[in-house]
C-alpha cells in the first residue's frame, strides 16, 4: 500500500524557538530576501511560528503555532493552477513543480493557510550563505511559487535507501528538517497509512484537531491543541 505522509504538531510542546524555521531555510535553499523586502512582506518561510496572545501583562497566555503547508487531500491550490504546477502526488503530497509554474499566484490566493510563497526577485544569498546550498534541492527562479514539500528530497532518499537494502521503511527513519531540529519533539512525521506509526497514533488520538477544518481541505497536518490555553482559568 502506498505511503500517506502526515505530520502531528503538539502545541503543548512547542516553545516557539523557531529552530524549525531556520532548519527549513537551510535544508530547502530558501533565500533570505533581505531586511527591506522582508518588511514589505516578501519573506518566504515555508514554516512559520504564529504567536497568539490572550490577556494583559503580566497575566498573559501565549500560544505558539507552527504553520506549514498542510498537504491537503482536498487542496484548493491544485485545481486552480492552469499549468498543473500545483499537483497531487501518488503519495498524497501537494507537489509544486517549479518548471511548470508561470506565476499566476492563483494557488496562493486559494490557499486558506497562506503558506505558499512567491519569488518576487531572483534568489540571492548573503555571503557566505551562498556556499551552504543543499545540492538535493533545486533553486527557484523569479516568478514562480514555492512552498513546503515535506522535504520530498529526504523522503525520496529514504525510499531509495530502503529499496536498495531490500527492506521496508522504518517509522521515524525519514524526518523532515523541521521535525529533526525540534528540541522538544513537538513535531512527529510519518506514514498515516501505517496504523502502528507514531504519527498515526497521535493523529487518531482524542486531542487531534485540524487547522481550519471547516474549510474542508482535509489537511494531513494534525494539531494537538494547547491544553493549558483551553484549561481552567485559575491554572
Amino acid at each position: 500500500m502506498a505511503h500517506n505522509w502526515g505530520m502531528v504538531i503538539d502545541l503543548d510542546r512547542c516553545t516557539g524557538c523557531e529552530a524549525c524555521v531556520v532548519a527549513c531555510h537551510a535544508e530547502n535553499n530558501i533565500s533570505t530576501v533581505g531586511q527591506e523586502q522582508a518588511a514589505r512582506s516578501r519573506a518566504k518561510h515555508w514554516i512559520r511560528v504564529e504567536r497568539y496572545y490572550e490577556g494583559e501583562f503580566p497575566d498573559v497566555k501565549v500560544k505558539f503555532q507552527p504553520v506549514l503547508c498542510q498537504q491537503c487531500d482536498a487542496a484548493p491550490c491544485e485545481p486552480v493552477c492552469p499549468t498543473f504546477a500545483s499537483y497531487h502526488t501518488s503519495e498524497g503530497l501537494n507537489g509544486q513543480i517549479y518548471n511548470r509554474c508561470i506565476g499566476t499566484r492563483y494557488c496562493a490566493n486559494a490557499c486558506p493557510y497562506n503558506v505558499r510563497f512567491f519569488n518576487f526577485y531572483n534568489p540571492v544569498w548573503d555571503k557566505p550563505l551562498n556556499l551552504q546550498l543543499n545540492p538535493d534541492v533545486s533553486v527557484r527562479s523569479v516568478g514562480v511559487m514555492e512552498k513546503c514539500t515535506f522535504c520530498v528530497q529526504r523522503i525520496k532518499a529514504g525510499e531509495i535507501q530502503a529499496a536498495a537494502e531490500k527492506r521496508e521503511l522504518k517509522d521515524g527513519e525519514i524526518k523532515p528538517a523541521c521535525v529533526q531540529s525540534c528540541p522538544t519533539n513537538a513535531m512527529v512525521w510519518g506514514d498515516l497509512n501505517d496504523p502502528e506509526s507514531e504519527a498515526s497514533r497521535l493523529a487518531n488520538s482524542s486531542r487531534a484537531t485540524k487547522l481550519l477544518a471547516e474549510v474542508g481541505t482535509r489537511p494531513k497536518v494534525t494539531y494537538l491543541p494547547r491544553d493549558s490555553w483551553h484549561g481552567t482559568e485559575n491554572a
Binding site: 523586502q37 514589505r40 512582506s41 516578501r42 519573506a43 512559520r48 504564529e50 504567536r51 497568539y52 503555532q65 504553520v67 484548493p76 485545481p79 486552480v80 493552477c81 492552469p82 499549468t83 498543473f84 511548470r100 509554474c101 508561470i102 506565476g103 499566476t104 499566484r105 492563483y106 496562493a108 490566493n109 486559494a110 486558506p112 493557510y113 497562506n114 510563497f117 512567491f118 519569488n119 518576487f120 526577485y121 531572483n122 523569479v142 516568478g143 514562480v144 511559487m145 487547522l211 481550519l212 471547516e214 474549510v215 474542508g216 481541505t217
Partner: protein, 449 residues
C-alpha cells in the same frame, strides 16, 4: 432643425476622416507618451521581477487583476448593449451601436493583456494554449484561468466580427469617394462590397446571427471572470451570487463608458446633430436600471454575509464596512448609487451633462468595486497572524493610467479611420421608417406622440 438628406449624412459623418487638426495631433502625442511610459514600466517589471509591484504575501492580486476585471467589464458596453438594442429593434440605437462595439473590442484587448502583465513569468503565457508540446502536458481544464482563456478569446473573436461586419458597407462608401492609396486600402477593407441585394441580405442575416450569438458569449465571459474568485475558498469570494453580480456590474460600467465616449465624440467630432439628447436620455434610463440592480446585488450580498456571521467572512466584511477599506467602500457606494441614481432618476437632470457626470462616477465606482472585491479578502484571509496589506507602486499606477490612455488613443485613431456612426444604418433608418428622420430631427416632438 432641418431634416437631413442621405447626402448630408454622408458628408457629415465622413468629415472626421478627412484630416487631423493640431489639437488632435497634440492630444494623440500626449496619450501616446503615457502609453509608452506604461510599456516601459512593464518592460522594467519583466526585467527586474514582479517585486517592483506592490504585491506581497498574502495579497498576490492587486491593481493588475482589478484592471483586468474592470476592462473586461467595460467591454460589455458594446457588443452586449448593441446586440440587445438590435434584437429589440430599437430604432434610436442606429447612431449608438458602432460607438459601443468599438469600446468592446478595445476594452477587451486591453483587459486580456492584464493576465499576461500580472504573470510572474509572462514569457510563458503561451502555456495556456492547448497544443501538443514537448512538455507532454495539456493545460489544466479544471482551472478557472483556463476557462477565462477560452471565454475571452471567444468573446474577442465574436466581438471583432460583430464590429467589422456592419463596417463593410461604410468602407465601400469611403472607397468610392477616395482616390490613390486611400482607395486601395479602403477597397481592401470593403471586401468587394458593391451593394447588391444579395450582399445586403447576407449582411443582415449575418448580423442577426451574430447579435443572437454574442449575448450568451458576453454573459458567459463575465460569469467566468467572476468564477476566478468564486471558485476559491476565500472569504467573501466563495459566493453563488458572484456570476450574476459581475455580469450586472459589467453591463453597468459598460453603459457608463458608452455614455462618456458618446459625450466626448459629440463634442470633439461635432456630432451634435446625430448624438442627440434622446440617446443620452435613453441610455441614462438604462444606466439607472443597472445602478438600482447593482445596489440590490450589493445589499443582498452584504446582508446575507452579515446575517450569516461566518468566522472567515466577518473580518473581511468589517474591514470594508468600517475598517481600513471603508473609505473606499463608501466612496464606491456614492459613485455607483448615491450620486448617479438621483441624477438619472430626475428628468431635468438626465441631460447630456448630467448623464456624463453620472457615467464618470460610475466608471470610478466600478473600478473601486473590483479593487474592493479582490484586495480586502486576500488581506484578511482566515489566520489572523498571516493577514497583510497592499499598496501599489509607481509601476502598477503607470501601467493602469497607461491603459486608460491607450483606450482613449485607440478610440481617437479609430474615429479618424472609420465613420464612428454607421452611415448605411442611419440611411436605412431613413428609408425603412420615415419616422426615424423625425426622431433624428425632432426627438421631443416624436416622444410627445
Amino acid at each position: 432643425m432641418a431634416q437631413k438628406t442621405p447626402e448630408q449624412i454622408t458628408d457629415d459623418l465622413l468629415r472626421p476622416l478627412s484630416g487631423i487638426s493640431g489639437r488632435y495631433a497634440l492630444s494623440a502625442a500626449f496619450l501616446a507618451g503615457i502609453v509608452v511610459a506604461a510599456l516601459a514600466a512593464f518592460m522594467w517589471q519583466v526585467y527586474a521581477g514582479l517585486g517592483v509591484s506592490g504585491l506581497r504575501t498574502p495579497v498576490f492580486w492587486g491593481f493588475y487583476i482589478t484592471d483586468f476585471v474592470f476592462w473586461i467589464g467595460l467591454s460589455h458596453a458594446g457588443t452586449l448593449i448593441s446586440a440587445i438594442l438590435r434584437l429589440a429593434n430599437a430604432t434610436w440605437r442606429r447612431p449608438v451601436t458602432r460607438c459601443a462595439e468599438v469600446i468592446t473590442v478595445f476594452a477587451l484587448s486591453i483587459g486580456a493583456a492584464f493576465p499576461v502583465i500580472h504573470l510572474g513569468r509572462p514569457w510563458l503565457a503561451f502555456w495556456l494554449f492547448p497544443y501538443p508540446s514537448e512538455r507532454g502536458i495539456w493545460p489544466n481544464i479544471r482551472s478557472p484561468l483556463l476557462w477565462d482563456f477560452f471565454a475571452i478569446n471567444t468573446y474577442l473573436i465574436s466581438s471583432v466580427t460583430f464590429l467589422v461586419l456592419p463596417i463593410v458597407p461604410d468602407m465601400a462608401l469611403v472607397r468610392d469617394r477616395a482616390a490613390g492609396w486611400k482607395k486601395r486600402i479602403y477597397g481592401a477593407l470593403a471586401l468587394g462590397w458593391t451593394g447588391t441585394p444579395k450582399q445586403w441580405h447576407r449582411l443582415e442575416t449575418a448580423m442577426h446571427i451574430m447579435a443572437v450569438a454574442v449575448i450568451p458569449v458576453a454573459v458567459s465571459v463575465h460569469s467566468i471572470v467572476s468564477w476566478d474568485f468564486a471558485m476559491a475558498p476565500v472569504p467573501m469570494w466563495h459566493s453563488t451570487i458572484f456570476a450574476p453580480y459581475f455580469v450586472c456590474g459589467a453591463i453597468f460600467s459598460g453603459i457608463a463608458a458608452l455614455i462618456l465616449a458618446m459625450a466626448l465624440l459629440r463634442k470633439f467630432l461635432h456630432l451634435e446633430e446625430y448624438l442627440l439628447p434622446i440617446h443620452f436620455e435613453n441610455l441614462g434610463k438604462l444606466l439607472l436600471v443597472m445602478s438600482l440592480l447593482w445596489f440590490y446585488f450589493v445589499f443582498a450580498e452584504r446582508l446575507t454575509t452579515w446575517y450569516g456571521n461566518g468566522s472567515g467572512e466577518m473580518p473581511v466584511f468589517w474591514t470594508t464596512q468600517h475598517g481600513s477599506y471603508s473609505p473606499l467602500f463608501w466612496a464606491m457606494v456614492f459613485c455607483n448609487f448615491l450620486i448617479p441614481a438621483p441624477i438619472l432618476a430626475i428628468k431635468q437632470l438626465r441631460t447630456i451633462t448630467g448623464t456624463a457626470i453620472a457615467s464618470f462616477t460610475v466608471v470610478v465606482g466600478m473600478w473601486l468595486e473590483r479593487f474592493l472585491i479582490i484586495v480586502p479578502s486576500l488581506s484578511h484571509k482566515y489566520l489572523t497572524y498571516s493577514w497583510g496589506t497592499y499598496r501599489p507602486t509607481w509601476v502598477e499606477i503607470t501601467i493602469t493610467v497607461g491603459t486608460f490612455c491607450a483606450m482613449a488613443l485607440l478610440y481617437m485613431i479609430f474615429s479618424k479611420l472609420v465613420p464612428i456612426i454607421s452611415i448605411w444604418e442611419l440611411k436605412a433608418g431613413l428609408q425603412q421608417a420615415p419616422n426615424h428622420a423625425r426622431i433624428i430631427a425632432e426627438p421631443d416632438e416624436v416622444r410627445a406622440d
